[in-house]
C-alpha cells in the first residue's frame, strides 16, 4: 500500500505532508480509489477520487468549524447572561449596601418553622386508621400517659409527679398501653 502512496506523492509532491491527505489515505476504501486512479488514470477515476476526498475533507472541516463555533458561542452566551444579570439585578439579589455583606435575600425571615401546629393529643397526630382505633380503645389513663410521653415529651418521672402517682405505676401502664396497641395492630394486619 505504501508504494501506492509513494507513487501518488511522486506525481503530486505538493500534497505530501498535508494532514488531510494523509488521513484520507489511511482508509481502505480510499486506497482502492487511489489504486484505480494510479493504475488506469481516467477522468472518471479522477472524479471518484476527487469526490471521495471532498467528502472526507468536508467532514474534517465541518466538524472542526462547528465544534469551535459551538464552543465560542457558548462562552459568549454565558458572558452575555452574566453581563445582563450584573446590570439588571433582581431586587432581592441586590447587595444590602453600607458595610454589610450579603443581599436582601438574606433578610427574608424563615416562615417554615412556625408552620407546624403543636398537637394537643396523639388522637390528632395519628394518621393511621387502625392505630387510631386501637388508641381510642385504650383507657383514659393510658391515653393521658401516652400523650404526656410523646406529645409533651416528658419522662416517666415527670408524668408521675404530674399525675400524682408513682413512677413505677406510670411505667407499667405505659408499657401495657404500648403492648395493647401492638396487639391490636397485629390483629388487624
Amino acid at each position: 500500500m505504501d508504494s501506492l502512496k509513494e507513487r501518488f506523492y511522486r506525481i503530486y509532491p505538493d500534497l505530501k505532508g498535508n494532514k488531510a491527505v494523509e488521513s484520507f489515505m489511511t482508509q481502505p476504501e480510499h486506497q482502492e480509489l487511489l489504486k484505480e486512479f494510479l493504475t488506469s488514470p481516467s477522468p472518471s477515476a479522477e472524479d471518484c477520487l476527487n469526490e471521495a476526498f471532498k467528502a472526507h475533507y468536508f467532514g474534517i472541516r465541518f466538524t472542526s468549524y462547528v465544534s469551535s463555533s459551538l464552543y465560542f458561542h457558548s462562552v459568549n452566551f454565558d458572558k452575555k447572561i452574566r453581563l445582563h444579570r450584573g446590570r439588571q439585578l433582581l431586587t432581592l439579589d441586590q447587595p444590602l449596601g453600607g458595610d454589610e455583606d450579603g443581599s436582601f435575600k438574606d433578610m427574608i425571615p424563615d416562615s417554615g418553622e412556625h408552620l407546624t401546629l403543636p398537637e394537643q393529643s396523639l388522637e390528632d397526630a395519628i394518621s393511621d386508621d387502625a392505630l387510631l382505633a386501637a388508641f381510642i380503645g385504650l383507657t383514659d389513663r393510658q391515653r393521658e400517659i401516652l400523650d404526656l410521653a410523646y406529645v409533651k415529651e416528658m419522662n416517666d418521672t415527670e408524668i408521675a409527679s404530674a399525675l400524682g402517682v408513682s413512677q413505677q405505676a406510670v411505667s407499667k401502664s405505659h408499657r401495657n398501653a404500648l403492648t395493647k396497641l401492638r396487639e391490636q395492630l397485629q390483629k388487624g394486619a
Binding site: N50, K54, A55, G59, H73, F77
Partner: protein
Amino acid sequence: MNALYEMVKEAKDNSLYEVNVVRTFEPKIRKSLHLTQQENREDLEQELKIKVITYVRNYSLEDVPGLFDLTK
C-alpha cells in the same frame, strides 16, 4: 463516503434531515452546556441547536477544495 458529508448533503436538499446533523453534534452540545450555569442550560441548548442548523444551511459544499485543488 464520509457520513457527515452525506448527512449535510441530504439536509440541504430536505430540511427534515437537518435534525440528523443536530443529533450528530449532540455530545458536543451537551459538553458546551457546562460552560454556563445550570439555570441557563436549556436556553443555551436551544441556541446551539439553532446554530448547528444555520451552519448546515450556510456552509457551502462547493467551497470544499477537491484533492487536485490542493496541488496549486
